[in-house]
């Protein structure tokens, strides 16, 4: 050791520095993997153009002017012409600042997205609105049934109703009066089923639903509530 060791170290350091210098001259090219950077083509955002005004007028009960003003508002918010679920949730939650409206927005989105392709086009939007605002009570009730029937099998089960109810109660948020209890949605579902489920078979069919609702004064009158929204 001693001198020999230090001289060895010195030699080693010199050799290393030499190699570093050589590398700079490109003589000792280290084998480097060429990363072929695939320029990923950004999928251009899908654009959608709605059907013609006349066709939409035929499909819905809106006048031309109403369709025009609806489309203007729609296009302003969604320039691409379609609403995906996240944008929809974003928009809908702004109306309910105190609670969490995302779950109910999800159900609503599915109800509006008639063809189930994950995006609401203007046609879906306008057809849905036409039913809700200008349809007969019968049509509106069918729409509501469709909303509750999450898996669209024609039956509303207790689980589906519970999910819907929970999402509605979620929108209330925490600061409610009286204090929102854990079992409030479940209880509400129980009452709903007691009212709607005629044959007590645990599911509500469309006929039971329509029948019960048409007998209920409150429901019938509140269905007429939003006639003049547009």
């Amino acid at each position: 050791m001693g001198i020999q060791g230090m001289e060895l170290c010195a030699m080693a350091v010199v050799v290393l520095l030499f190699i570093a210098v050589l590398k700079q001259f490109g003589i000792l090219e280290p084998i480097s993997m060429e990363d072929s950077s695939d320029s990923e083509l950004e999928l251009s955002t899908v654009r959608h153009q709605p059907e013609g005004l006349d066709q939409l007028q035929a499909q819905t009960k809106f006048t031309k002017k109403e369709l025009q003003s609806l489309y203007r508002g729609f296009k302003n918010e969604c320039p691409t012409g379609l609403v995906d679920e996240d944008t929809f949730k974003l928009i809908y939650t702004q109306f309910f600042p105190q609670g969490d409206a995302t779950t109910y927005a999800h159900f609503l989105f599915n109800a509006f997205d008639a063809d189930g392709n994950g995006a609401i086009h203007f046609e879906d939007f306008v057809v849905g609105l036409s039913i809700l605002l200008r349809g007969t009570v019968h049509e509106k009730l069918k729409w509501a049934f469709n909303l509750y029937d999450i898996n669209k099998d024609g039956y509303i089960t207790k689980e589906e109703m519970l999910a819907i109810m929970k999402s509605i109660y979620d929108m209330m948020g925490r600061h409610t009066y009286p204090i929102l209890r854990e079992d409030a949605p479940a209880e509400h579902v129980e009452r709903f089923f007691e009212k709607m489920d005629r044959n007590q078979d645990g599911v509500v069919t469309i006929e039971e639903f329509l029948e019960t609702c048409q007998k209920d004064e409150n429901i019938m009158s509140s269905m007429q509530l939003f006639e003049n929204v547009i």
């Binding site: 105190q98 809700l132 509605i168 009066y177």
Partner: protein, 636 residues
């Protein structure tokens, strides 16, 4: 609620039909769109440039000039357009705000002109979008600083009449240009500082020889003269210091300031020297003390702006300099160690220990190279050369980088702080908007109740007090109201929530309540504990007795599912006679009442959304008489 999504409000309201079959109570009435007209294009003529937009676009923001009826003042009947005699460039941004919901700040625009325009159109600058907000704030701050500077310099020229003598003196000291006396004082002190420094220097120069003795420094040859000069200078400095101390607005702060410390250090040696006699023991220390006289040169920093800036720069870049020092120390230690062990073997090596090698390393790394210590072994020479090369790198290269780093890091810190502050402000804005919207609903609910109660009492002039919400807002509130009805719960704000929690946890039944209730202890819904809900039938006969209470009571009725037509604790029935109570608002009701007595008198009126039965106008005229003792029953 962002106005951009106001376009979706009709959709949200339509979707509320999904709640209807689930709700058990009737929904409140929708606000009527009284002035429903077809959407029309309106023309805005701004200094000759015509802008056109839909009326509904402008009505998105009803509290601005263009969104309210204020624009009618600018309506030109002849040309059927709205004429504004303002800048069309800025108007472009303003109109885009209505269209997109985002307000942008154009960079080429002057900040004060922009602010004026925003103020004219009734738009708060705080809603500038995040993309332009930073720029806006920067420009605004610069402008404010400039204004402040202008004001200061203005103020300095004015004579402030009501300054006390002490304040004038302080101003004279701080700012020599205020009066000629101050200027004279400034120059005199400067002169004496220079004299003092020069005497200190000249003292040590060897002045010619006195015949018969060796060369003496001037200080010892003309000791009396130098002593007199020194005394004069110290006198002046002492007087100056005492005057400053007297004039300082905050003496404690003055004493702690750097300049006063320098002053003290500059004059202390003299006094200590006076006090100490020619005591041989302490004369060594006395000599050391004279070194501190050189600190008088720092007094020049009061006279030189540049010195002050340098000092401030060093202070602010202290962390960077500290890091430089740290890395240098690391390198010095490394190389000193290596050199020591490399030179250990050579004979008569000057590298006797690692600390001794420090000197070599420092001299080599700073490329001084005195040559008093040189390595002799080959390993030592190799490492020595590496040391000097790395010295160049370690010291010479980062210096310009550090200099530019100073300004970059300084500005970066400022921007990071700004961003942090703005982030807080941004979150606060979002929170405020959220609470604002929910508060607006609660507020308007209360106002709405008040309105409807007043409507029922038929005082038309008071009706109009509450009609300040726009149509969009009332529709939004109607939507939230429907949700409340669907779930049989109400929105309240946080404070009331806490209050209710506290009160329900320590609530007690009022003894004046119907005895049937007291026999059902499990009635209250406490937020903290869940009890099984018991149902009770409130006999009608008890209700009228409880109608007028001196204590304010808030009873809520939680509705279960089965039929109970005799239960009439609906709100309207409480105000009606008992026999009229057979028409509950919610027919299917087995009602549990939870009574929480709140001793404070809320000015709550019955909710007006009940469909009052035709017989109601009679009993409802009792409302004004019991307006102060109103039982609010929210029959949900």
């Amino acid at each position: 609620m962002a106005a951009g999504v106001a376009a979706w409000l009709p959709f949200a309201r339509a979707a509320a039909i999904g709640w209807m079959p689930v709700a058990n109570c009737p929904m409140p009435l929708a606000p009527a769109d009284k002035n429903k007209r077809q959407d029309e294009l309106i023309v805005l003529n701004v200094s000759g440039r015509r802008f056109q937009t839909w009326r509904t676009t402008l009505e998105r923001y009803p509290d601005t000039l263009l969104g309210s009826t204020e624009k009618e003042f600018f309506f030109n009947e002849d040309t059927k357009e709205y004429f504004f005699d303002r800048d069309p460039e800025v108007f472009r941004c303003v109109l885009n705000f209505y269209r997109t919901g985002k307000l942008h700040y154009p960079r080429y625009e002057c900040i004060s002109a922009y602010d004026d325009e925003l103020a004219f159109y009734g738009i708060l600058p705080e809603i500038i979008g995040d993309c332009c907000y930073e720029e806006y704030k920067d420009r605004k701050r610069e402008n404010a600083e400039r204004l402040m500077d202008d004001n200061d310099s203005e103020n300095n020229q004015e004579s402030m009449p009501s300054l006390s003598f002490r304040q004038t003196m302080w101003r004279a000291f701080e700012n020599p240009h205020t009066s000629t006396l101050a200027l004279v004082f400034y120059y005199v002190t400067g002169f004496f500082i220079a004299v003092s420094v020069i005497t200190n220097v000249v003292e040590t120069v060897p002045c010619g020889t006195v015949p018969g003795s060796k060369e003496l420094p001037c200080g010892e040859r003309y000791s009396v003269a130098f002593f007199c000069l020194d005394t004069a200078c110290v006198m002046i400095f002492t007087v100056e210091y005492l005057l400053r101390l007297f004039a300082a607005p905050s003496r404690y702060r003055f004493i702690r300031s750097v300049m006063s410390i320098i002053d003290v250090v500059a004059i202390m040696p003299y006094y200590i020297g006076l006090v100490m006699t020619n005591n041989e023991d302490v004369s060594g220390a006395f000599v050391t003390l004279r070194v501190f006289r050189v600190f008088r040169i720092f007094k020049f920093s009061r006279h030189s702006q540049g010195l002050r800036i340098l000092g401030y720069t060093l202070k602010s870049c202290a962390s960077e300099l500290g890091f430089l020092l740290f890395s240098l120390t690391m390198a010095i230690i490394i190389f000193a160690t290596v050199m020591f062990y490399a030179e250990k073997g050579s004979s008569a090596s000057k590298f006797t220990s690692i600390p001794a090698s420090f000197w070599y390393t420092i001299v080599t790394m700073t490329t001084l190279g005195y040559g008093d210590m040189v390595p002799k072994t080959i390993a030592g020479k190799i490492f020595g050369s590496i040391c000097s090369l790395s010295g160049v790198l370690v010291i010479a290269l980062p210096v310009p980088v550090i200099v530019s780093n100073f300004s970059r890091i300084y500005h970066q810190n400022q921007r990071a702080d700004k961003r942090r502050a703005q982030k807080k402000a941004r979150l606060a804005r979002i929170r405020v908007a959220k609470t604002g919207s929910s508060n607006a609903y609660l507020h308007s609910k209360r106002n709405g109740l008040l309105n409807e109660a007043l409507e029922l009492t038929g005082t038309p002039e008071e009706e109009h007090m509450g009609k300040t919400t726009s149509l969009i807002e009332s529709q939004h509130h109607h939507l939230l109201h429907c949700l409340e009805k669907t779930t049989n719960h109400e929105f309240i704000d946080e404070q009331m929530f806490e209050q209710n929690c506290m009160e329900s946890s320590m609530q007690n039944y009022p003894s004046t309540r119907s005895p049937s209730l007291s026999s059902h202890p499990g009635l209250t819904t406490t937020c903290c504990s869940r009890r099984s809900k018991k149902t009770t039938h409130l006999p009608n006969s008890n209700l009228p007795a409880t109608r007028l209470r001196s204590m304010q009571e808030l009873s809520t009725i939680h509705i279960q599912g089965s039929e109970q037509p005799s239960l009439t604790t609906s709100r309207s029935s409480l105000n009606l006679k008992a026999d009229d109570g057979l028409r509950p608002n919610c027919k299917t009701s087995q009602i549990t009442t939870a009574i929480i007595s709140i001793p404070t008198p809320p000015a709550l009126t019955p909710e007006g959304e009940s469909r009052p039965p035709p017989a109601s106008p009679g009993p409802n005229t009792n409302i004004p008489s019991i307006a102060s003792n109103v039982v609010k029953v929210s029959a949900l």
